[in-house]
């Protein structure tokens, strides 16, 4: 499979979105919590509390929507600053109540628009990066589809970062890269190769800890095993005292 095949798969309309993961892994236990308490409720970010094997966890996801209406409603998974601020509010809440955080990342990028700039898109992302680095509870981020630059990283400063096999994670879209490099945004296949954005490339580069194999249909077996993996990982991370956890997290990013 080429890098561009992964780009296509990561963006496919029928690919499960954050809501699918939340529903399949946490079932009815998930309760959604809304709003950033500052401006509004950004529907590109879904968050709340759920139960995982008897313990509470905080769940945050970038949600693209599963059909055209939902996609419009959720701005195609491109969050505004208030989305990142909602995510941070929920993560801070998780810290207060000593529950781990799981993030599902799927976005082509943070939204580029007038309101987003006026309300400090850069500042909102920057604050998440800073605060997540020292959040005193375990954080696990899973890239399930597109990992578009700073808008994805704002939910991926974590103790472990995993990727679905056909998810992508990149500093710039292949189209953007191609138009800068060759003044031709149609050369996305070549650009996809250059950017080293596939799960296998990123595993080799040490950017992610784990690749989640994708069966042909992302069926229930995958969600069940993913649920077990998440639970085991939280158990492992919760065994560290906080200072050890935070210093491991710092060094995880310090090495790049």
């Amino acid at each position: 499979m080429s890098a561009f095949d992964s780009v296509t798969a990561a963006r496919a309309n029928d690919r499960p979105t954050a809501i699918d993961y939340i529903t399949r892994i946490f079932g009815d236990s998930f309760m959604e919590l809304h709003g950033d308490r500052r401006f509004s409720d950004d529907k590109a970010v879904i968050g709340g509390i759920a139960e995982l094997n008897g313990s509470a966890v905080t769940v945050v996801g970038l949600e693209k929507g599963r059909n055209l209406n939902e996609r419009m409603d959720r701005n195609f998974g491109s969050a505004h600053p208030e989305g990142y601020r909602k995510a941070l509010r929920l993560m801070k809440q998780a810290e207060k109540f000593h529950r781990p955080v799981i993030c599902f990342v799927d976005t082509s990028g943070a939204y580029c628009g007038i309101g987003a700039e006026e309300r400090g898109q850069g500042q909102a992302i920057a604050e998440n990066l800073m605060e997540m680095m020292t959040l005193e509870t375990p954080i696990l981020s899973i890239l399930i589809g597109e990992g578009g630059s700073g808008g994805a990283l704002a939910l991926a400063v974590a103790d472990e970062v995993w990727m679905l096999e056909n998810a992508i994670y990149s500093v710039i879209s292949p189209e953007g890269c191609a138009s800068i490099l060759w003044k031709d945004s149609s050369k996305t296949a070549e650009a996809s190769e250059c950017l080293k954005l596939t799960s296998h490339d990123l595993f080799k580069l040490g950017v992610i800890e784990r690749i989640i194999r994708e069966p042909k249909n992302l069926d229930s077996i995958m969600f069940d095993s993913l649920k077990n993996l998440i639970a085991q990982t939280f158990e492992k991370l919760e065994a560290y005292d906080i200072q050890t956890l935070l210093s491991k997290r710092y060094n995880r990013f310090r090495k790049f």
Partner: protein, 296 residues
């Protein structure tokens, strides 16, 4: 003052009409006798411009300046000691044409990377300073840029020193792929540790500060200053116009706009920057600045 000058004087000091959109094509001062100010269009004598630290004497437009000149304007004479001057970037993900681009950037700028870091005194206050350089690949953030900034913060944390960072950047460096993105997290981690140690961090945003630098250490200062008229953005104006398919209002994403929206503390003229930094550093120093009798 003739009539034309008077109206120029009345005009808002910093119009973005010729700025920002074509930010990358903006000229440095050429070696010509006269320079036309891109904002007020007045011809300005190069020597006058030089004496005014490359601020247009007619309208206050701030021409871009290089990192070395910035350091000279900011730190006390002979007090600068550079860190990691020899650190150089490599083509870590084997990106097409990057090796050649790096070579050209070095030749054109006379520098090894897009940031210069070190320690210095500003108005007598010991401080760590990092100054980004638009002449090196438009100040883009590669691994070495991030590493130098991270080391500067770690040094400051260890030695209990404040940090002053002058930003100018087109954003993350595409040619280093995901490694460039990781610099945003790495630098933010170092800023957070410095902050948690109770130390002062001042950012000075200069034209243009965009993308991954805006979305990391540029916006993480305790105090955020900017030069007048600087373009400060997460997404650049062209990208936004392409996304929303409409023209942006005049002055959108200027320093003054960010001040109005509450994202920066003050817009400070280049000629007053050193005094402003000195004042802030003194107000945060452990030594009493309120004269005798005050508590240590």
């Amino acid at each position: 003052m003739n009539t034309a000058d008077f109206f120029n004087f009345l005009k808002p000091k910093n119009e973005l009409e010729n700025q920002g959109q074509e930010a990358e094509n903006q000229p440095f001062i050429p070696d010509e006798l006269w320079v036309k100010c891109p904002v007020c269009k007045s011809p300005v004598l190069s020597s006058d411009l030089g004496e005014n630290n490359k601020v247009c004497p007619k309208c206050g437009y701030h021409f871009r300046i290089g990192a070395r000149q910035r350091i000279e304007l900011t730190v006390d004479k002979d007090s600068f000691r550079e860190f990691d001057a020899d650190m150089v970037s490599e083509n870590i993900i084997d990106f097409p044409d990057y090796t050649r681009k790096l070579k050209n950037a070095k030749a054109n700028s006379g520098e090894n990377e897009s940031v210069i870091t070190g320690e210095a005194k500003i108005g007598g206050c010991e401080t760590v300073i990092a100054v980004m350089n638009s002449q090196f690949m438009m100040g883009s953030m590669g691994t070495v840029t991030g590493e130098k900034i991270t080391r500067a913060f770690e040094y400051a944390t260890e030695n209990k020193l404040p940090v002053v960072v002058f930003t100018v950047s087109g954003g993350a460096r595409m040619q280093e792929g995901i490694m460039s993105l990781m610099q945003m997290a790495k630098t933010s981690g170092a800023v957070k540790r410095h902050s948690d140690a109770g130390l002062l961090y001042i950012t000075v945003l200069t034209d243009p500060t965009t993308g991954g630098v805006t979305a990391s250490f540029a916006m993480e200062g305790d105090i955020i200053l900017s030069e007048p008229g600087a373009l400060i953005a997460f997404a650049g104006p062209r990208v936004i116009e392409q996304t929303i398919r409409q023209k942006l209002p005049k002055g959108f994403q200027s320093a003054e706009f960010l001040l109005e929206k509450g994202f920066i503390d003050a817009v400070v003229n280049r000629n007053e920057m050193k005094d402003t930094l000195t004042k802030l550093l003194k107000l945060h120093s452990n030594k009493s600045v309120f004269g005798e009798g005050a508590d240590e």
